[in-house]
Symmetry: D2
Subunit: 113 residues, 4 copies
Amino acid sequence: MNHLSQEMQECIQNCLDCHNVCLQEAMNHCLEAGGKHTEPAHFRLMMNCAEICQTSANFMLSGSDLHTLTCGVCAEVCERCADDCERVGEMDECVQTCRRCAASYWKMAGAAA
Amino acid sequence: MNHLSQEMQECIQNCLDCHNVCLQEAMNHCLEAGGKHTEPAHFRLMMNCAEICQTSANFMLSGSDLHTLTCGVCAEVCERCADDCERVGEMDECVQTCRRCAASYWKMAGAAA
Amino acid sequence: MNHLSQEMQECIQNCLDCHNVCLQEAMNHCLEAGGKHTEPAHFRLMMNCAEICQTSANFMLSGSDLHTLTCGVCAEVCERCADDCERVGEMDECVQTCRRCAASYWKMAGAAA
Amino acid sequence: MNHLSQEMQECIQNCLDCHNVCLQEAMNHCLEAGGKHTEPAHFRLMMNCAEICQTSANFMLSGSDLHTLTCGVCAEVCERCADDCERVGEMDECVQTCRRCAASYWKMAGAAA
């Protein structure tokens, strides 16, 4: 993957990490804890975040310029997911991974501008 | 799925149709025809279109308000894919399905406004 | 899609229907109902069923012979999902769609044998 | 992810690596090189391999016992993809990543037996 820019390689890795953490936390910790963790709006946001991160990573891996469109949505969803995980509590890894993913998009978008 | 609005049900179906047609045409007709059909930029666009349609359909099926974000990107990618399929030629089903998918998003967005 | 056999076209449609119903029921009805509907093992099975149905449909759409591998797993997961939805109750549409999906795989496999 | 066994954590990482390498090589190197690299059977196998690796990783991340079903198919597809990449040539990274993914499944399956 050495023909991709450093910023994009970091962004792909951060998207994949965020997909993994959101999916795993939702389907294990959240389902087992219940209560606020399985509120429909919170749980949907976790699953939506996992999916758009996967799709954005796939757009970048495919070499497509259109990744700017998916990554913009991905950063927005990640920020909302981080905020909601903070509200629910006990989701520190998820908060940090979502914030890091959104930040790496802004860094990549800035480097391209 | 009767608790979803008529516009959203149509939009889900159009996204799924567009995913199916783009994926099938790319992996069968385009690979077998070669030439312009496997130009990297064209082929990537077909595969990107299939993927964002699937993701947008999944966001709508999940009951998430965030589908407005993915559907906006989806409509943009569908329009670019339709234009490029017209340029390449012999892709009429793909052109029509992509146009129909983009149009049903604009209809749904208009109905919600 | 007229170069695909009748059995395969039906199987693709049944996989897509099963993906849609399982994903939508899990993320809406199950999350809102709670209780048995969000038991980890049941909810995971619904989401696993949605995902393998999508993957199997994609393998068939891609024109790959390897769909026999994914479809075999898909039929197995659909049958387990149908049984578990029957146990949980109030999931009749899901039970029927999963059973129909598994049956169309066995019909396609039989036609090919 | 520290509640997962060491073998499963390795298997998840190997599936994700294999997804990334197959998708990126197919959509960049193969499309740009053409010739044997875009033969329908070879290109489909690369894309199928990327997709089943993603699905298997998602099953493992979801905490589902059913990952044994998807991982068995995944190991089979990875081995076929490695063999075909060897035949086509100039795909060394893909060959190695696919072989490593299949091997980590057999190691995990052996540890569980």
